[in-house]
Symmetry: C2
Subunit: 196 residues, 2 copies
């Protein structure tokens, strides 16, 4: 029987974890990014299609390429973050279904409807972004997700000729608590949920 | 300094966790569902907008209302799950921004563009579905997410007059390992990720 994780873990993942804006001078290794991917890849997606693609920007050159796409409010925290991940999706994610879901002709479910393929890729790459944020926190990293950027510029600067489209950005590093904003309220259960 | 969670926790959240199809005869209490929501609500969304809404179906009557909307492959596992969550989004999520994001007129960012509001709601309610799956696993629950159902029928049966739209379903319970399928492959790092 599986038990709940202890309070320290629930705090680290959910309760005391915060979206960070300033960062300690402490790098994130490529080894840590590979560990991160190895957690994220295991979490569930529709028909195991795994449409998300991840571009880990951790060089100065990469950050300068990203700069023109950032909104003013997201500029400084993103330029100073040790790593910024472009969470994208592969528009032809279904080409990998013969490997990822070999017991059915799942590819044909998507090749017949561009709208269904796009909705599936958008929904599931967003789910996978949620897994990325949780996996980063599980590894002791802090995160800063954002959608305030120019997707077309990111796609042109980083994703040309890949067939990938950007969904959101996530800063990764070890946050500096001094830079945190006050905690914002959340909706009470009865405004966001129902029991039937 | 925050450390990585231990291997037992990483296994429970990511590595050995599985999507379940058959369930132990063990209920999920309303108290557990409220604990689950209290974790999920803390995780980040764009402008703290928290667009996801959750309908927890745990009665026989509720399940029978859901039945006509389920695809054949998802029928038995969903009808037998102790709880099925409709993860939806509130189409007018921005009406709560004066409370959730009080330091800016964030509502006006969305009321001017229905397409931007819908993309934000779809992206962020999907992110929140990812948080729900991880929070459930953190509480020792097993999950079974799916998008193979008739959204219009779910919306009509459960969400009429709420302004909410269904995104995906997630079964919750304590899984029976005897009903697991074989583990499917995942994409290697170099096919899904890039370091720049």
């Amino acid at each position: 029987m599986t038990n709940a994780l202890d309070d320290t873990a629930l705090d680290q993942l959910f309760r005391t974890a915060r979206t960070h804006n300033t960062w300690q001078d402490r790098p994130v290794s490529d080894e840590t990014l590979r560990q991160l991917y190895d957690l994220v890849k295991m979490a569930p997606t529709s028909a195991n299609a795994s449409p998300a693609r991840f571009v880990f920007i951790r060089t100065r050159e990469g950050k300068e390429k990203l700069r023109p796409a950032l909104s003013a409010g997201n500029l400084e925290k993103t330029m100073t973050a040790p790593v910024t991940v472009i969470v994208a999706w592969d528009q032809k994610f279904y080409d990998k279904l013969p490997v990822l879901f070999p017991h059915a002709d799942a590819k044909s479910w998507f090749t017949g409807s561009a709208a269904f393929a796009e909705a599936t890729a958008f929904r599931n790459s967003s789910l996978q972004a949620g897994y990325l944020i949780m996996a980063a926190r599980a590894l002791g990293l802090d995160t800063g997700p954002m959608s305030g950027f120019d997707n077309a510029k990111v796609d042109e600067a980083f994703l040309a000729n890949t067939g990938w489209k950007s969904n959101l950005l996530v800063n990764l590093g070890y946050g500096d608590e001094a830079g945190l904003f006050g905690r914002l309220p959340r909706l009470p259960f009865d405004e966001a949920a129902d029991l039937v």
